[in-house]
Symmetry: C2
């Protein structure tokens, strides 16, 4: 009996460690993805081609982490048969890792675009607007990962609430680009690339919002992914 | 003893039915998403604003299906504690539903963009190129869903192998757009919208490739999402 109890405790503690391990792996993956995004933005704003090259070629690390996290999650599902909130953690982590992987893809895309921008003034167009947009996107990503680390629903909702600002910034930047392209047709090609970078930043914000929604699901057990922000706030704050 | 046996059979049969049910729900969701994409493409090519409106406002059906499929999958994980290939089915279906939902988002985006295109010749620019790109994307989506329905690894790989053509078509269309914008600056705004539609079609192809990769994972048990096509072909064909 004592032995059994001991065994159970041991098993349970090991299980806790496994759950803790996938949680910390996601945070580690999040940290790597954040660093990739920061580098991508810096490469874009400073026209740093070496840094762009680095971002464009190191996405495989993020991909490897996603594959490893998925394998761990599937093992836990198979061997531990988690229930209730543990099950939500595992299912959420599978989806979060997919979002982080896609954020990594967007950073990689920015790296490739920056590399392809031509030297000279092309690289400086809309620098401050893009920088601002990028900082907003990074702040949402950081907030989302932080809300996940602390399992903080209020922080997750407050972070997601900032996304519409990014969309507005992106719209404004696009309108500016259009005007600029019309006035200066020779700039079309490079402005289009700058606009794609801005789109990638905006999508980073969208994926970060998905992570915020996973935090609400994790803690509250409700799938809020297709509710409006005001509905989420009304129900969970 | 007989009763137990009967109960077990019954339970197992019900479990089989549950697995069959989520599989058929994904196929149903796939059918709906395919229909949305077909309508979006038709709205774009025919400048059919009513159809565009329909596509832009009916994405909630796809979203509802994703939420329902996720809930079913989580229930099965909690109550049936699937192992081995059954577990792969459930985990894959969660990810596939996410891809289908994102394909639905892209169709919705095309609907909104078509609505915002101005009357007249704006709507006819690059019509045949976009139509061709759209047909390629739809064919990959159809092939992916078909490969899933038949659990056919060879078909999944053959379908995924067509994606680079779509990327090339998109690149070619973008180059054409750039030339056109430079020659006719007044067309910038609408050409940018047409290009975003083309980008959405290209992304539909990307998500369909993800579904193909899930089919390989489902049947073979290996995560192939970050392998190159030639690596996948070498290992699994």
């Amino acid at each position: 009996m004592d032995d059994n109890l001991h065994l159970n405790q041991h098993t349970s503690q090991k299980y806790n460690e496994e759950l803790e391990d996938i949680r910390s792996r996601v945070l580690e993956m999040g940290g790597l993805v954040e660093a990739q995004c920061r580098k991508a933005l810096k490469a874009l704003v400073k026209s740093d081609i070496d840094l762009a090259e680095e971002v464009a070629t190191s996405d495989y690390k993020v991909n490897d982490m996603e594959v490893a996290i998925n394998a761990r999650c599937t093992d836990i599902l198979a061997l531990r048969q988690p229930a209730a909130s543990d099950l939500r953690v595992v299912v959420s982590i599978i989806r979060m890792a997919a979002d982080l992987e896609r954020i990594g893809d967007e950073a990689e895309k920015i790296g490739r675009l920056v590399k392809s921008l031509e030297k000279g003034r092309d690289r400086t167009t809309f620098r401050s607007e893009t920088k601002h947009l990028g900082k907003s996107a990074l702040s949402i990503l950081n907030g989302a990962l932080d809300a996940f680390a602390r399992m903080d629903v209020a922080a997750a909702i407050a972070t997601a609430a900032k996304d519409p600002e990014i969309d507005d910034e992106f719209e404004a930047l696009t309108r500016l680009s259009i005007t600029h392209m019309m006035e200066e047709p020779a700039s079309v090609k490079s402005l289009l690339k700058v606009n794609w970078c801005a789109r990638a930043l905006e999508r980073i914000g969208d994926h970060a919002v998905n992570i915020c929604e996973e935090v609400v699901y994790l803690v509250k057990g409700s799938d809020v992914r297709h509710l409006s922000l005001s509905e989420i706030q009304e129900r969970y704050l």
